[in-house]
């Protein structure tokens, strides 16, 4: 019999009951809650007269609606009354049910997918859910982590379980080493470009290979974060020394003897050598260039030295129609060089790229340079209050401010523009976020997905440029 994949192991470890109809009850170790997808779940609990099954499994924070300025005023600083009610509702629900919440003025507040790992509330081997599709981020720790809808948030609150059907196994192997200036973001965009936004549908993806092993936890989180943009709810990386060193000493991490037995277990969280995958995709790390998305789907991506595609060269009629539509929305011409795309704004932030390493990479590029006068705005939004504090301790805030970038308070911000940070109609933005859908960053806004280093390079030049040219 073949060995087990990492996903098989995590599945088996969380299996509460296999039912006759093919469905299974899976135990959930951790649920992260935020203000947008939880109010109806708490309301459902109340209406049914149910109580949370295990309060200490839940951690909450407001992130989608919070402003990135004027935070001293707390909830009162939220100008939009509808947004304010949503954040107040989360506070009220957490208070009522006794759930730990990092509220808007708590320094530990931040984007759910940043604060989980930062607090050690994300530990290897856990099953983790959140009413947010980017929950796949936590798979970087060898976790079974995925996004769920609000009905399932309620289901997990009430039962600590989910009804699931096992997914298929996919291995995405990135061989060799990455070139300098090429980051986790470029790797995952290249993967999505290769397999498409539905390439991972129905699969749990494990990212492996030398290039993945060589990445920091931040880089691995960026890759797992965007698994969902490849259609896969679950993305994972096996546990190794990098994982264990990251987790050590964090507030929720085990200590003493428990630490030793935890590490002992965590060391088993990798696919066996003889494990079989339903699908294997391989990429050569050395061939991956800094990536830029040109269209309205994350699979519409090319290397920075490439051109906007020509729909006339696409054979598949549905894809051709998609390219035509995307070019029209994005205001781009077929065959134009990516480096000719003029920008209006730059956004460095989001659950994909707002961790300390992301900010360091961006700061290294803008240091001693100035934001291009062509731009209307370039902003940096750290992923949490603690990331912000650390960046300030390292002097990164000064580098950004001296270069002319704005230094904001933590939250989801312009990734999805639920707060005041948004694009105007027709504006092009170099963004370190995860989705370039129509209207995602604001009505009529045009998003180009890039790495923090590439966004920083775009900020100082006003258009896309190969960041490696600025690094020499």
């Amino acid at each position: 019999m073949a060995g087990k994949t990492l996903y098989d192991k995590l599945w088996d470890d969380h299996l509460v009951k296999q039912r006759d109809d093919g469905s299974a009850l899976i135990y959930i170790d951790r649920q992260l809650l935020h203000e947008v997808t939880s109010p109806q779940a708490f309301e459902g609990l109340r209406l049914a007269g149910r109580k949370p099954w295990r309060i200490d499994a839940n951690i909450a924070t407001p992130d989608h609606n919070v402003p990135t300025t004027d935070r001293d005023r707390g909830v009162d600083g939220i100008v939009d009354p509808v947004s304010r009610i949503q954040v107040e509702t989360l506070d009220k629900n957490c208070d009522e049910f006794g759930i730990l919440e990092f509220k808007i003025k708590d320094q530990r507040q931040g984007i759910v997918h940043v604060i989980g790992p930062e607090q050690g509330a994300t530990l290897p081997g856990m099953s983790i859910v959140c009413g947010d599709s980017h929950t796949s981020t936590h798979g970087a720790f060898g976790c079974l982590a995925h996004g769920i809808g609000t009905s399932e948030v309620e289901h997990v609150l009430a039962t600590q379980c989910l009804v699931q059907k096992k997914m298929k196994n996919m291995l995405v192997k990135v061989n060799g080493t990455l070139g300098s200036g090429v980051t986790g973001k470029d790797v995952v965009l290249a993967i999505i470009g290769k397999i498409g936004t539905a390439g991972g549908t129905g699969y749990a993806i494990e990212f492996g290979g030398e290039a993945i092993r060589g990445l920091s936890m931040e880089g691995r989180m960026t890759i797992c974060n965007m698994s969902i943009e490849a259609g896969a709810r679950v993305g994972m990386v096996a546990v190794d020394d990098t994982t264990i060193e990251y987790v050590r000493g964090r507030p929720f991490s085990p200590e003493g003897e428990q630490w030793d037995s935890a590490v002992n277990y965590w060391r088993s969280l990798h696919s066996d050598d003889d494990a079989e995958f339903d699908k294997v995709v391989e990429l050569e790390g050395s061939e991956i260039k800094p990536q830029v998305s040109w269209g309205t789907s994350p699979e519409m991506v090319v290397g920075v030295d490439g051109n906007v595609p020509d729909p006339d060269k696409e054979q598949d009629p549905i894809k051709r129609e998609g390219i035509v539509r995307a070019l029209k929305y994005m205001g781009l011409q077929a065959n134009m060089p990516i480096t000719d795309i003029k920008l209006d704004r730059v956004f460095i932030g989001s659950c994909t790229n707002s961790r300390i390493e992301d900010l360091r990479e961006a700061a290294a590029v803008v240091k001693g340079r100035k934001v291009s006068p062509i731009l209307k705005q370039a902003m940096v939004v750290p992923g949490s209050g603690l990331v912000k504090a650390q960046a300030e301790q390292e002097g990164l805030d000064k580098i950004f401010l001296e270069a002319g970038l704005e230094w904001r308070d933590p939250g989801c911000s312009m990734c999805l523009a639920m707060n005041a940070d948004k694009l105007g109609q027709g504006e092009h933005c170099a963004s370190t976020s995860n989705r370039n859908f129509e209207g995602r960053q604001g009505f009529g806004g045009r998003t180009h997905l890039v790495s923090p280093a590439m966004a920083a390079a775009a900020a100082v030049t006003g258009h896309f440029v190969d960041v490696r040219e600025l690094m020499n």
């Binding site: 009951k17 170790d29 730990l100 039962t159 009804v163």
Partner: protein, 216 residues
Amino acid sequence: MRAFTQHQGVVAPMDRSNVDTDMIIPKQFLKSIKRTGFGPNLFDELRYLDEGRPDQDCSTRPINPDFVLNQDRYKSASVLLARRNFGCGSSREHAPWALEDYGFRVIIAPSFADIFYNNCFKNGLLPIVIKEEVIDRLFQEVEQNEGYELSVDLEARTVTTPSGETFTFEVDDFRRHCLLNGLDDIGVTLEDAEWIQSYEQSRRKTAPWLFGAGGQ
């Protein structure tokens, strides 16, 4: 949840692939703390010519006459015919809430994004996967015949065209059972409460670091 057994209704064709959840219900409408009332903002950016706000009366907004749901022949549609990877993007359940609130009961496509597909079943909305060649043909038939209806039988797992042609589709037994009976699946899971407790007890022994609030 409203049960779903059989349904017959007018079909509206949504002829584009990768329809994402931002398109189905843009983010400014996710600020509601309710489950209902999203229908008027379904496909907001495609359906109206202005920028939508949560506090608006949608009946006075300028509509996009080219958008399929604004055409008279599709106004009573309750079956949405769609293309590849429908519902990709976020986990927002507001997407099926908006479709259901608008009046859709069935979505037929060659493929769906996983989370969206799953969310539909929690809301009395039936997503049906049918292979692309058939979908292509259904698009043509809908286009050519005003008032074109499909009838769907979840018990029998069939879709039937006006000419009597029938296609079968696959659906998980558990999901089908819950939808046919309009079951609250939390109630179903809680019938296994003893299994959960016993799992939890053994997990407390083997992985005690997963319990207790830590960090506080």
